[in-house]
Subunit: 211 residues, 8 copies
């Protein structure tokens, strides 16, 4: 781990043999190993002959595979609130959740909040009231993080999600509008749930430590 | 006039001599002539020796110059509501207003509504309650038209305004987010107050006609 | 429904299970449910065990699936005219038609008008003479909406369609030229038949109301 | 001259001293020398002490300066027709005209044809009836070359002109729509009147030769 | 045919049923019908039950299918020279050839000339010596048309081809460098062999007519 | 103030009259008012007739003007560390510092750290050891935030700065590389010192509160 | 061979028949023939009936196929050091290695060096100590070449690799940051291992010659 | 100096006071100090009160200012050949020359070679025959480095120069075509004469050392 960051393996684009080797050696060395964006073929390969005493957990959507020897992440005392505008954003939110939990954060979520009306947003925010920091995932025009930042007094991190067709689709407009936002938010790259989750967990831990 | 659209001369980039000639001959032929984005030097040139019986009116911001022989636009019976998110958007809104009024629309406005909170938006919308159609001008992330479209049941036209610095600044993010918007809005080019105002006036007239 | 807009489900990219659940519950709650960009596999899944008393209608191209319990949209009294430049644009036009009809508009169409000559355009426009508002779909250089706007005195909404190869293909040049157009048109995103249809239906209803 | 192409000096961006030296030595060597996009300061410098027997002619707009010792271009027998959509396009058209004339073409022009209606286009085309090849300059959405190509049976070269504001302004949309055009046209870069004029003159000469 | 241009059907993206119908009715009406970018499945469908007396000819690469009742194009007397830099450019060159031949041009070709050395270019040009006009297809950095234009005194049309990986690959750099070229060439869109071939054939016919 | 965020007025692009009015009324209402990117002419106008009891402080570079009636920001207990790669980045860092201080943060800085070697970075980090959160400003290739994030265990916010010429200059490459970074950082728009400073101050306050 | 550069055939996109013909005739003519980016189907076709006395060697990843009649490259005496940031970059590095070896260079490599810490970089550089020139392959933000250039006193060539998702992914950010780098490096296109390897081998040979 | 690279100060964008301070202290510390892209105002400020014993040399174009106490660069024994396509490229070439000379290279140049014909290139190359490495500067379509690389057997570095108007002007097409080039060249950013010169000088020194 570099700088206290647990290794999360980006399975996407890795050849299967290397992936199996990396994950097995990680879990044996450190007790846990998480992969994201893993395909079902890759999962099969990794799980076919798991090292002794290692169990596997799969999370959908997001393609998360967690290997462990029973070791659990050490709770940091901090809480990360994760929200999504739509259902297509959930796979990215799950990526954020996985790394945040690996880093010891308690994660609370509110998915598919919509952007259409304040009536669905208010109860969603209420549900996340205990969050020390927010990760807000949104595609198309990517408005939700800005709206949330106007309503809470904790840091809000925007995650543009690769939805939307046509001009500036696939998360491009969402990234642009988050970067141009009048609200005080910071941003990660399109679909970068991993980075947002890790960044949020780091903040949550710093606040949690103090509680 | 083409298709019942009064001529509005885009002064920007025209050489002064042509502009003077064009405006003077228009106003003599049709009783009124409007120019937008006109510089003070151009205004001086046009107004220096106005044809007999022609008077000039200037509107700031927006650089609108209106020549007339006393003729007034014939009221269409329709009402256009124009809103801006900030003060930098007003010059574009004024362009929309000028053409809409030329086309006989009553124009009601609510400028500098902000995007920060619903508390300033609700009275602004209240003020525009009688509008048959809305023109909403916004820069940076360009959220306002989408928000308005979620709150009214009349057509909403978004006008991205060339404000905002950095990546996708100068109206680019606003255009992108309006085109990607989940709300039902149509869009014109960045700073195209003229087109939005004329389109809105046309709709307002069709509804006004019927009242 | 938000702001009197019937729900149209964008099937594209939704996982089948969620889609079936969403559509079935919508139709039971509101009498009708429309999906666009639905694949044949998704249609199969949705229609396999339709709730009692629900019938399904499919429209090609455009991938429209309409579930209903016999309820019909309430006629708004307005008429939307939809035109396409080519045959590839029809799937987008059908998306516009579906939402407009759901919103109570009468829809009249004239497809594959071409851009090559006025001789095919004039009878096409004649056929749409009763329209209160026009939706004009065009790909490649996207000229048709501007030409139509020069010939009719009703509002014209341009829909760029993702055809054309090479530089600025896939609707990009069409979007650009509609935004730069000298004609008074407003624009929606590439392939956004849904937004154009809904916007047009809203205008048509306002005019129809008055008749 | 390379490949029978007379030298036209692009004055834009050249330092004055080099420009004077280049133009004076060209005109002495070959009897004529043309510069385009020349500023009034540059003109002053070039003309201040003209070599003996050399006279200067200036053409506006376009910033054309022609030095000559009385030598005239040898008529090629071909005719180039140059058309512009607006008045802002004329400076580019003049650049095309200058090089075409240097290459011996007869040039006939029809400027500010508009795009709004066929009624202004038809007489404009009539005026250019004798052209062997057309150069059509247009900004904003750049439709005119495609329209012309649909009405004549001679080759049409499109020249996008750097007008228009907002997204894809400054000739970008015009270039895109000409490249995506369904009509059979070829294109030069934005504002490249020189290239279009030279290309057209070459074609005209080949046809003229034969007459 | 519009403006004396024979119809060439772009098969790409067309659904098979429409394509069959279009091609069969064209060939019956006009004696010949050409399709480009046709897949082998589409060819099978079109040829399965050809109308009586109609024969089919296929050309690879380029996906050209020619139906005819024995009618031949009427020779225009002009000659088009087509050149390619590499072998990947040939499919685009074949598209140019097909339309040029349909329009009555004699077509002479020199493929895979390379860009590496003058020693392969000189004999290639020699082979095309009789051309009235050149179509030069090149991908990657797209230099070849500029080089050819420096060596011949006939018009040269550049066709960027969608080869090359990485930044500005897929013909984008080729298009850019042709538009920025110091040589006198005009350009068509990436892979637009059809437009280049038709434009060249038109020029060749005008010169041929005169011979 | 929205969400506990003090108002910082972006002077850039505002007309002088509005700016004076806004700043004077803010400072009277809330005791302090900060403007950034203010020109010397604007400063003159604002300070010419300051309201009674109001004093002005100017900070260069960054164009910060602070009006106050003696009121000081309430210390939050948190510390923000601000670092820049070069000297050109300082104006953006000063913008971050101003807002952070307004929000009660203690700000410690280390400017012009360079990217060339670890030997200058280590003492710079040492100097910022007490920071609860880092704001790192860098132009050109924008590497510094990623390097810092690899060396500290506090949250790091990257601010791309509009330096660098050529392709992806003016901060574009810096933004891109921060978004693509393997390090766990979040990002704001190019030159958005304000947003980064406010976001950091919010985090610092949450940690400070707990100490 | 042009300019002493051995032919390496880019198999990607070539049709199988041409590829077989090209490779077989090359190897017979010159003793060796290398192809890069070759698929397993293409390998099968090429190797099915190898000319007499020709043997084939395959290298993965990178899709390198080497045919030879036993001839070996003549050692140039120079050494090329090739480094990669991650494992995904190795296929590009292998392409660089193959051409460099064909050109007679000794190649030493250090793959998957990471960017996270100096502790992995120092031994990697130590391993490449004998290199006369470096080729450094990196994706995502592409920092590694700049870092290496700050630590060695030999020329460093950066190769952006098409990894990374989201905005400026697929090597775009890496290319941008290498071009904007404050370090003294030169750059090749994304994934252009071939060009980097050949360029490095040329330099190495010039230095090697002298030793 | 880092890694044996002498400091060259990029004056562009630096405030005058800092620049004077930096240059004076550099020259006193190391005997020489070079600035590039310096304005005449900046030159005046730096030279107004030069430290005792320091002399200044100015080179135009390129805005190079060299301060020295008489110290000369130590000859490396290597030779750098610098070539430009046009006269506008010379300022960038001069930047390359200055840094190369500071690093001890002998620099030989051949400016304004043109791209139009081999007849001007051959003698230009002849003049540079002794170069160990080439820096080739070219704007617009940027062909020259590729052509040179086809004719010499030494390494060639391409420098795109910010000339050319319209689409992909200002060096963008030149950068693109150099990156897409089939020739074996490496590239630096647009106008980055400094980087190219330093890279070339490093190679030249390595070869020179051996001679
Ligand atoms: N979904 C993800 N997105 C971005 N980075 C990731 C993701 N998953 C893992 N990573 C990080 O990417 C870096 C390279 O991953 P690897 O290629 O697995 O060594 C490591 O620092 C991982 O922690
Ligand atoms: N083809 C479409 N294009 C754009 N929006 C659509 C389309 N079909 C449905 N929608 C709208 O997209 C929004 C989100 O859809 P859903 O993800 O189905 O909840 C709803 O407001 C739908 O009415
Ligand atoms: N992987 C590669 N990347 C770039 N160029 C290559 C590659 N492999 C071969 N080449 C060169 O590409 C040019 C065209 O290749 P070909 O199409 O095989 O004639 C030749 O000069 C080859 O040497
Ligand atoms: N014209 C130039 N282009 C690119 N880099 C330069 C130029 N001139 C100086 N540099 C380098 O830019 C870096 C930052 O320069 P400075 O801002 O002066 O510290 C130093 O490494 C200089 O050597
Ligand atoms: Mg959203
Ligand atoms: Mg806004
Ligand atoms: Mg069209
Ligand atoms: Mg036009
Ligand atoms: Mg090429
Ligand atoms: Mg930096
Ligand atoms: Mg990297
Ligand atoms: Mg050049």
């Amino acid at each position: 781990s570099r700088c206290g960051m647990p290794e999360v393996v980006l399975a996407e684009g890795k050849d299967t043999d290397s992936l199996v080797k990396i994950m097995h050696s990680y879990v044996l060395a450190s007790g846990r190993c998480v992969a994201s964006r893993i395909t079902s073929d890759q999962v099969k390969a990794v799980c076919q002959k798991l090292p002794d005493g290692i169990t596997a957990e799969i999370r959908e959507p997001g393609g998360i595979l967690i290997l462990s020897d029973g070791t659990k992440p050490i709770p940091s005392g901090g809480t990360v609130g994760i929200m999504t505008a739509g259902t297509s954003d959930i796979r990215v939110a799950e990526e954020a959740r996985s790394i945040a939990e690996e880093m010891g954060a308690r994660v609370i979520t509110s998915f598919d909040v919509g952007v259409a009306g304040i009536h669905r947003l208010i109860p969603a925010l209420e549900k996340l009231r205990e969050a020390d920091v927010y990760v807000v995932c949104a595609g198309r025009e990517g408005t939700l993080p800005s709206v949330v930042a106007g309503l809470v007094d904790k840091p809000v991190i925007g995650v543009p999600v690769s939805t939307g067709y046509g001009y500036m689709g696939q998360g491009a407009a969402a990234l642009a509008s988050m970067l141009q936002s009048c609200a005080v938010i910071t941003v990660v790259n399109i679909d970068a749930g991993f980075t947002a989750g890790a960044f949020a967990a780091r903040i949550a831990a710093l606040i949690g430590e103090k509680k």
